[in-house]
Amino acid sequence: MTAYLQFDQVCKFFPGVKALNGVSFSAHAGQVHGLLGENGAGKSTLLKILGGQYKPDGGRLLVGGTERHFTSAKDAIQAGVSIIHQELQYVPELTVAENVLLGRMPTRFGLLDKPKAHRIVAEKLAAIGVDLSPDAKLIDLSIAQRQMVEICKAIMQDAQVIAFDEPTSSLSHRETEILFRLVKELRAEGRTLIYISHRLEELYELCDACTIFRDGRKIVTHDVMGDVPRERLISDMVGRELSDIYDYRERPHGEERLKVDGLNGKHVKGPQSFSVRGGEVLGFFGLVGAGRSELMRLMYNADPRSAGTVTLDGATVATGGPSDAIAAGIVLCPEDRKEQGILATASVAENINISVRRNDLRAGLFLRHKQEAALADEFIARLRIKTPNRQQEIRLLSGGNQQKVILARWLAEPGLKVLILDEPTRGIDVGAKNDIYRIIHEVAERGCCVIVISSELPEVLGISDRVIVMREGEICGELPRAQATETEVLRLALPDSSAPAPAAYIENPRSIA
Amino acid sequence: ADPVKIGFLVKQAEEPWFQDEWRYAEQAAKDKGFTLVKIGVPNGEKMMAAIDNLAAQKAQGFVICAPDVKLGKAVERSAKRNNLKVISVDDRLVDGGGKPIESIPHMGISGYAIGKQVGEGIIAEIKARKWSMADVGAIRVAYDQLPTAKERTMGAVDALKAAGFPAANIIDAPQAKTDTENAFNAANIALTKNAKFKHWVAFGLNDEAVLGAVRAAEGRGIKADSMVGVGIGGAKAAENELSKPAATGFFGSVMISAKEHGYQTSVNLYNWITGKGVPPAEVLTKGMLMTRANQADVRKAMGQ
């Protein structure tokens, strides 16, 4: 095999950050080359250089043996390079077909050939096994579906080099399987594939070789992925040893603190009830669109509810809006950081402090700048958020580091009683995951209720005291930690689980409430 | 025959002057028993739409003060197409070459002549106060993008020059918009630049402009005894000023008769439509200088 894609001493500097500092490696045709590294290690930056979005400050890029100097994304596309970016890049008001064919719409006599566009996109979607109408607008799709559209878009460019930047971070089981099958097909066709992920299992399953980054530098390239022990990968990546990343510890559970009773609203099928005890970590699992986020949003007053009450320590939580929930001590870290989380042009410190400011970081009307700064610095250190300083605009941080900032916002909340985390570790590196799990356990040990929604089954199983499974908009089962095995949970979550599960495992959620 | 309906189109409905004209036209409508349709036409486009609109309402003619005198040809053409009779008021309509349009009878003022009257009034007061012309600065609050504004102020300038006022003492203060605040700011700068003058006079396109200059002068301690501002119009803004208990630098205003313009043009048009007589081709009304001293008399003489 020859190196089809070659990076040679590539550098990229931003004010205060050396995002890439002399990185060299090569990837071969017919190979899936994994990239690993902590959040902010420079992986996405490398792909942006490959995609013509950034100009490197030094070094060379060779595609198919020729040196390339891309000045725009168009150049890269024309050279047969296509990228699936970490931050999804779609046009919300356009349809699936229009997004997939953006920049390359078929025409007839100078006019758009809509039937043809519809046809070829429908065919492609069907071929890769995605059940989506080409006429749906992106704004009406779930994140996972949008992600699949992005993947379809990249694949339809028929590029020789295809790079995936954390494609599975918002996919659940089923789509992930589709993606894996696709990647393997593309490899068989002899294309050069780059694959970034923080999920080591995926890398082991897919990649033939891998390169590890840390702090903008290449640490090592393993030409044969299969031989490398997991521990070695992790320590190369994060620079320290990690044994059990979930770090689960038994702890006593207190009284029932949070009670959700008959909650109903849009996208939820019928009234839903459950409760959480102090010190308990409750995991929510389900497939994409199972209704977990919607249920939590109802509880948080983020969406109007049609029925139901939420009671915390015996007191009913007011329903005026998220501010009422927060006032009662319930906080929710949303799943979509770009749309619902970050204030893009505000600083890291402001992003951390925004909600805390309500009562903690103020003296009467005024802000307490010193405390704000101290709190921000504390969390930057605790979560190892990589940023030149707390004044950096959050949009300039790497994806995973943005996620950490948003998490810090909620973890810093002082009157915390119920912590709801919706896909908290999306796009976060192994080391940081470990940090976050530790914090989750700390919060629980303080006697708070913690609810974690995750589409990563091992994560749910690894940290939860109890798991609730949702399916098609309703709670369909519940398993205590001891019984929550991968097969049991999946069996509940998948639509065709016709055989009733053993009664001991599944209690009727409504009877718990 | 159909009941008589006539339109009265004015370029700036918000201006008190035109409100007065409309009021007197209404009076005529009541006296003679015809219907009056009042439409503001701030620009050429709106004017064309308004004329079409009148035709749709089956009016037989209209009186117009067009947003620009060079719209004459357009007025003439669309009136003819819609079979409407036209009389122009205030500003005489001209064709593309600048010649008055003969087919449209006119009643109005000559901006230049009114301006001249302003200048003459100022000169008379300078002489009455026995100021030496060399010590007097004159502020022309200018808004030259409006042709009639330019004519008026140039009329005043010519009158001053004719009386031997030193041309170098006339200072332009261009206002960005035609309101008092902009006149204030413009005049303020003119005053700053020419601190050397002992006395000041001011004129502009209307009362509001002169008011701005007077206020700016007051801000520098130049009060009634060393300021002579003469406006044009004589409506509410001037009345407010002239009836203040103490005299201000706003010496007077050349009053023009909205009554004659509003009432007489409407009646003339009505007569023309009903075949009772063809209006005179051109009537130029005169302005009168109204000051604190003769306020009541002038108002009476002007019929207001």
């Binding site: 046009v91 008001e93 758009l112 607008k137 089923r174 098609e472 | 620009n43 749709a56 040809k73 064709d95």
Partner: protein, 327 residues
């Protein structure tokens, strides 16, 4: 997980379709109802002369609204259209009077408009000046130029050939109305049926995504502004011929009228959303309100009030409709 969950745009159930249909056609429908009511109640409203007059009165706004729609759809903004109308008219008139050639006059006007538009485009797309400030600056400069070349005076037009341009009628329809109709046709096709239109919506919806997909964002934005300048200049020339003179202070405040018509028609200022049909309705609403108020001899001061109220009512109705669609 069932199909309908994975596939939100799959054959949806009945109520959704009618909802979509409603949301698509509610504005035109509302306008038809409004028109019918007015025809029945307002004297002289429903007559050929009045309806033609109404259309004539919005012909200029309509033309420019077509390109403004593209401009807004691509998340831009253009305040300079009023000045461009004035300048193109003045320039056309001057060239007309000097050269005596209608072709030359129209050519000069159009060229000036295209140039102004292209300048806006370059400033905004390549030099990344904020669109509001950039077009405010050109608005001032172009207005200044209009005054300077005309020495502040209206420039009369005597050529009958030129005047015919704004006066001619075919089958009872004045040329400006026909031209305006043509604009709606052309730009409707451009928006909905061409790559140009899709890309415009794409750069409005998410410029970064468009760029990454290989759309030449900067070039496209310049083209949009250039078209806008061109069409605006045409509107200016037509206006000049209708009013038989080039007026340097014509069309002041025109930009806000055009933008309101577009927004009324459902074009989003956040970019990415535009419907040519909506814009047509927006333009017609604006014209109808004005027309009816004049027919009913509403006092000038109350006209301000009414226009405000009607603008509000129109968007509130539109708002109520989309309310249900929000989460």
């Amino acid at each position: 997980m069932n199909v309908s969950q994975l596939n939100p745009a799959a054959p949806t159930s009945r109520p959704l379709i009618s909802r979509q249909w409603l949301s698509e056609y509610s504005m035109p429908l509302a306008y038809v109802v409004l028109f019918a009511v007015l025809a029945a109640t307002v004297e002289n409203f429903f007559s050929l002369t009045n309806v033609v007059g109404l259309m004539l009165s919005v012909a200029q706004i309509g033309m420019v609204a077509c390109t403004m729609m593209l401009c807004l759809a691509s998340r831009d903004f253009d305040l300079s259209v009023g000045s461009t109308i004035a300048f193109a008219g003045v320039l056309g008139a001057i060239v007309m009077e000097q050269s005596g050639s209608v072709t030359l006059a129209i050519g000069a006007g159009l060229a000036a408009g295209a140039l102004i538009g292209a300048c806006n485009g370059v400033l905004i797309a390549y030099l990344r000046v904020n669109a509001l400030i950039a077009t405010l600056a050109t608005m001032l400069m172009v207005r200044g130029l209009a005054f300077i070349v005309s020495k502040g005076q209206a420039v009369g037009i005597n050529s009958d050939a030129f005047i015919a341009f704004g006066d001619e009628r075919f089958f009872g329809m004045p040329l400006p109305v026909l031209v305006c109709g043509l604009c709606f046709l052309v730009f409707g096709v451009l928006l909905n049926q061409t790559v140009f239109g899709r890309n415009t919506l794409a750069i409005g919806g998410n410029p970064e995504a468009a760029r990454l997909a290989g759309v030449r964002v900067e070039r496209l934005r310049v083209w949009i502004f250039l078209l806008q300048g061109l069409v605006t200049a045409m509107a200016g020339l037509i206006l000049a011929s209708r009013i038989t003179s080039g007026q340097p202070n014509a069309a002041q405040g025109f930009e806000l009228d055009v933008i309101s018509a577009c927004v009324l028609g459902g074009v989003s200022l956040q970019g990415g959303k535009a419907r040519i049909f909506g814009v047509l309705i927006g333009v017609l609403i604006m014209g109808t309100v004005e027309n009816v108020m004049n027919l009913m001899d509403v006092d000038a001061f109350y006209q301000y009030l009414m226009r405000g109220v009607i603008l509000l009512v129109a968007v509130l109705l539109d708002q109520l409709k989309t309310r249900g669609e929000r989460r």
